[in-house]
């Protein structure tokens, strides 16, 4: 605990800002039902009420639902789904990446070429295609994005562990007769963790933006679930009337992305030992 505070004290202001943003988002996401004044898809007033009127701090949306409530629940849905998707992407990409380096040979070749094929297809178009065929249920959405994103995780995990697998302690473990799973989880994974953790933050941002893009196009999180990107889409006509309300969910997306990036930057700086030259 003491070390944690010490670490926090040494953090640059940008990282502290990022951490605060993340903490706030997580808090809001977890306690959404408590914090939100109304139910998630409850119609509580007339449509397109401006901010501050009739006690709706942020006004109401195109169906007359409270904007603030939608925003709060949006944190829960968008962040939650992005987080689960990123975890799954790391599980798939990480395991295959480490297996590829540890076993080498044809396993490495096969996995590598499969990833090449997946990466050759533009992700957004590929996702649109599959989601149009299968329909947009949340589990399908998660699996599709996770698989598409795992290719990049695979590449990184493979590149990082390539440098570790040739070290003597891995050779020593092989000569001891250890199994592949032990070598992956005990010898290689702990030593390739820092870049992977940093990548997790960045990938989370990309997944988050990707889901937002899909939702904006109408193939992501389906109504009536609150979701920031769909909110932007639903409210976008207001922009022409100089009403900044659609910028609120967009700003929420941007703020989280920036916050995560700040923290990742700091983390990379800490673990890679890079110092700023004076």
């Amino acid at each position: 605990m003491e070390r944690f505070w010490k670490l926090l004290k040494s953090a640059p202001p940008t990282a502290i800002f990022g951490l605060l943003v993340i903490a706030l988002y997580v808090f809001v996401a977890l306690f959404a039902p408590v914090l939100a004044p109304y139910g998630e898809s409850e119609i509580v007033g007339p449509e397109f009420l401006p901010r501050g009127e009739e006690g709706f701090i942020l006004g109401t949306d195109n169906l007359g639902r409270d904007m603030l409530t939608r925003l709060i629940y949006g944190a829960r849905n968008t962040i939650g789904i992005a987080f689960v998707t990123t975890c799954l992407a790391f599980l798939i990409g990480g395991v295959f990446g480490l297996v590829a380096t540890t076993l080498g040979g044809w396993v490495d070749q096969l996995l590598g070429r499969m990833v090449d094929v997946l990466m050759a297809i533009p992700t957004l178009i590929f996702a649109l295609l599959i989601l149009t065929i299968t329909g947009t249920s949340i589990p399908v959405l998660i699996v599709v994005i996770a698989v598409l994103d795992s290719t990049r995780v695979f590449r990184l995990a493979r590149a990082v562990s390539m440098n570790i697998v040739v070290l003597d302690f891995v050779e020593a473990a092989r000569l001891r007769g250890e199994g592949t799973w032990w070598i992956i989880t005990r010898e290689i994974l702990p030593n390739s963790l820092p870049p992977l953790v940093a990548e997790f933050g960045l990938r989370f941002c990309f997944v988050f933006l990707f889901i937002s893009a899909l939702s904006f196009l109408g193939l992501g999180i389906k109504p009536p679930l609150a979701d920031w990107a769909s909110m932007v889409r639903d409210m976008r006509t207001l922009i022409s009337f100089a009403d900044p309300t659609p910028l609120l969910p967009a700003g929420a997306i941007a703020l989280l992305t920036v916050g995560v990036n700040f923290v990742v930057d700091w983390f990379l700086h800490k673990t890679s030992g890079i110092r700023d030259e004076k």
Binding site: L167, F169, A172, R174, R176, R186
Partner: protein, 558 residues
Amino acid sequence: MRNSDAGKGDVLLEMRGLRIEGQSEDQWNEIVHGVDVTLRRGEVLGLIGESGAGKSTIGIASMGFARPGCRITGGTILFDGMDLRAASDEQLRKLRGSRIAYVAQSAAAAFNPAHKLIDQYTEAPVQHGVKPKAEAEREAMELYRRLRLPDPESIGFRYPHQVSGGQLQRAMTAMAMACHPDLIIFDEPTTALDVTTQIEVLAAIKDVVEEFNTAAIYITHDLAVVAQMADRIMVLRYGDLIEEGNARGMLADPKETYTRQLLAVRSYRKEEAPPDESPVPLLEVRNVTASYGGQVIVLDDVSVKVGRGRTVAVVGESGSGKSTLARVITGLLPPSEGSVLFNGEELPASYKNRNRDQLRHAQMIYQMPDTALNPRQRIRDVIGRPLGFYLGLKGAEREKRTRELLQMIEMDPDEFIDRLPGELSGGQKQRICIARALAAEPELIICDEVTSALDQLVAEEILKLLQRLQDELGVTYLFITHDLATVRAISDEVVVMLEGKVVEQGGKADIFTPPHDPYTDLLLSSVPEMDPDWLDDLLADRAARKARGEKVMESADQ
């Protein structure tokens, strides 16, 4: 030449009370504590000490420079009357390369791989406006010839990867001489080279420095090397000056205990182990031929026998195939022909097909203890794993045995058992590697250059420890090394390898007494001795024998 009229004697460089701090984490610690250095024109000063002594830091400071993460905090640096600490960057830039030059340990890393040698040579003189390119090129060829590089007219037009390590180091020395500097700093220029190559580089450097009357600071950890090069020696330890004096005087009569320890470092000799009486040797490598990818043959019909309780040293220079031999024995590289027998029983060629007991009986200790230990595993797990894996020890039993092993390698269990490898020194890490090997209770331990990454005093402690363990446990060692001092210290039998073949093998006494195979002779005679006249005598002797028409090898690739 600029300073041909200035004879020896004038003070060229004077550093007084030099203090340098280094940054670790976020703190500044003093790493050089007020050292005085005086260097006269034409004089060669040897800076000697183990790692962390501050010798390189002081060497670099004489250019008025501190490496990234270091800063000069106190003292004065006067170079030919000019205060380098007060000098502007512009003034320093003019000085470096033209009047002060630097030769780094790894020439391969110091050369730009994308440019030809001669273009890199001419860069400094042309940049500093000392001479035009054509003239610089002519001079380069002259220097290449003087440094005894082959084809001095054309070698400069090659790229760095097209010449050998020893040649590259000489090309770098030539580059340092390009502007006829007053001072050259040699930072361990021969440490990365094989002994037989080292001789050529040492002789070349010595000649050129004498010829141009250049002052030099020669930094090394090897007292025998500095004995050949230096007029005066400074012994450093932990950033303090221990002893300073005339080279011959100090070598003949060291005043300080630490200097005496450094001098005595190669004198350790083990008692010969009793011969193996049993008819079947513990390990037998039978007519092994191996290659990487079927193209280049790295081992050519190699046969080696290792008797129980004995230490067999495999000695050879880089590229001799000695490490490949270890890879074949451990099963990492299945041989294309031949077999490996353990206790008379043929081992499967690949380690993947060996059973747990076969793996357990042959353990390995590596050259670099830093990479041989998983940085994320605590000592308890490092040593405990083979105990659990091979011997099935668990819980309290395993903990007890781990502690016993730590005691065997002379490390306090309470202090070290919870540490990570990053919290240990190099010598301590190597001890942990030894304990990890011992935990498997093996019959054979393969030691691959186990002391070459360590400081000399630490290396000697490791050798003594290995010897004590052999006396107590009767374990057999296959000792792979390029260092003949190690061979002399620890072996019972010696196998000399060259280009994948066994040149000579036999008992230690046989190998070390003439007559030798020509290569063994070259190898043995190339090991520097503390005698300051050794290099001159050796070169004279080789020349004389050659003149008499005897077969004398002067480098390993002849």
